[in-house]
Amino acid sequence: MRYLQICISLLLIFLINSLFSQSDSINILTNINAEVQKENYYAAAILYQKLDFITTSSSEKLYAKVKAAECFKKIGLYENGIDVLNKINLNGENDSVIFCVKFQLSLLNYLFNNFITAEAHLKEMNLLIKDSTYYYKGCLLHVLIYNEQYKWNEAKTLMHQANKFFYRNNLKQSIVNATQIDSIYNTKYFPHLKSPSKAATMSAFFPGLGQFYSKNYLEGSVSFITITGIAGASLFGILNQYYFTSIVAGSTLIARFYQGGITRAEFLANHYNYYKSKNFNSLLKQYCINILK
């Protein structure tokens, strides 16, 4: 009789617990809906994580994680979204799930300015997925990533490949024609980027030359005039037999300005590259977004 009582108790515990856990999931989903309606996506993201924590169903866990990442994306907390999605185990999942997770991961990394990881996720997605349609669905994001990495030729090739695919399959994106891609990715519009190391070497050979190369003529002139001025003053001091003062003060000041000029030339080249490519990329980004629309 005692054993029977124990068995019944265990059965009741199991039944009531499963009943409570089901009602808990429903309660959480109701709370999430309320938070989403209030546009409080942060609370919604946390509640999705709670749903992931309490549920035992693997599909519900996956759903909760993806939705939590989406909520974080909406409020610009890309890193949190990446953190949630990285916990998903994709072993044995079908192509659509792999695409959904990896594409989101890549997008979040792209938005987080982590372009190398974003590209790695897309490449991993292409390896894991068997259906080539998904490969082309991720193409536009890949193009955007290439643009940010100044790989415009690769971006152009990828755009053409995707365009051909969409054209063959009569998909929405096939409205773009090859001439449009060629015109926007015309090499004559590519920004001519400056080499920071070249700028540094030029400034090392001739003070101010690196700044001129980086298109900053004022700073180049100031650097040249300052160093030659100090050198001239030191020479004047030596000619007037102020050997100690001229050599010590002159060499200290020249060394400072000379080294500073080299570092500055390198910085200016990077600065120039950043703005030039940013302007060009913003045009390309607008173009890609228009295609998506």
Binding site: Q5, I16, Q49
Partner: protein, 285 residues
């Protein structure tokens, strides 16, 4: 199948009660999980936004522990101080509160918090309490009280053994440490630029001060040698520069001595706090 009705009903009520309490604990477990995953901001938000899901003590404990991990000792103390003595982990909570009060520089309040801890059945908690007491006495530089407490140390568990040894070493360092005199540092710098800083223990700064003064003195001497006049503009400029650096070096040495004394005291205090903190971190791990 002839289970008495009264027994069956009581079983069902017990089971339902157990299940309800288990569901209430889900929120607690979820926040703990967020904390373990180092999502402290999210845990904090959840605790503030969904506070009705927790009992007062659980809420304050989780908040306090989360603030402790977020390195906010003031907020942590404010939360932990509200917990009632009936709380299950009261002694552990008081230890955590005490170290956070120490980090907020409320040493006397930390000691009175430790006084509230009753002798625990767990010897580790008692030993950590003594370690914290001893640490507080070192922070107050009350070495006699420290010696009394140190007799209770058993150096017997990996969780606090190292800290207890380190505190004894720190006591020796406190005894050995002699403060640098600002007057001596200033006088030494007057005799020879940089010597005061060398005495304070800042060798790099001493070398820099010495070479700068020598260079300006050399320039002033060269100006005099060339012009043979104390009134020449070259001599006046370099002598003025030398005077600025020379007097600046003396004042700097005085400040350096004071700063060095403060910095060594702060360094020792930080080491004491770290050694008080390690057993707590081990306890909550």
């Amino acid at each position: 199948m002839t289970i008495p009705l009264r027994n069956s009903l009581s079983y069902i009520f017990i089971i339902i009660g157990l299940c309800c309490s288990a569901q209430r604990n889900i929120d607690y477990a979820f926040v703990q999980n967020l904390i373990i995953q180092k999502k402290n901001t999210q845990a904090n938000y959840y605790l503030n936004y969904f506070k009705h899901s927790f009992s007062d003590d659980s809420l304050n404990f989780l908040r306090g522990y989360n603030y402790y991990l977020m390195k906010k000792p003031d907020s942590c103390s404010l939360s932990l101080i509200k917990i009632n003595p009936s709380f299950v982990e009261w002694n552990k909570t008081q230890l955590l509160l005490s170290i956070n009060l120490d980090y907020s520089s409320n040493i006397n309040q930390a000691i009175s918090t430790l006084n509230q801890i009753q002798n625990d059945t767990n010897p580790i908690i008692n030993q950590i309490k003594y370690t914290l007491y001893a640490g507080n006495m070192l922070l107050l530089r009350n070495l006699t009280a420290y010696d009394t407490i140190v007799k209770k140390f058993d150096f017997n568990n990996i969780a606090y053994e190292k800290s207890q040894i380190n505190l004894s070493e720190l006591k020796i360092r406190i005894l050995k440490h002699k403060e640098k005199s600002a007057i001596v540092a200033g006088m030494l710098s007057t005799i020879m630029p940089g010597l005061g800083k060398f005495y304070v223990g800042r060798k790099g700064e001493a070398m820099a001060a010495f070479s700068t003064n020598i260079i300006f003195a050399g320039m002033a001497a060269e100006a005099y040698y060339r012009t043979k006049s104390f009134k020449s503009p070259q001599f006046i400029i370099f002598t003025t520069l030398f005077s600025f650096f020379y007097s600046g070096n003396i004042i700097g040495s005085i400040y350096s001595a004071k700063k060095q004394n403060k910095s060594i005291k702060k360094q020792i205090n930080n080491e004491i706090l770290a050694n008080m903190h390690i057993p707590i971190a081990n306890l909550f791990d």
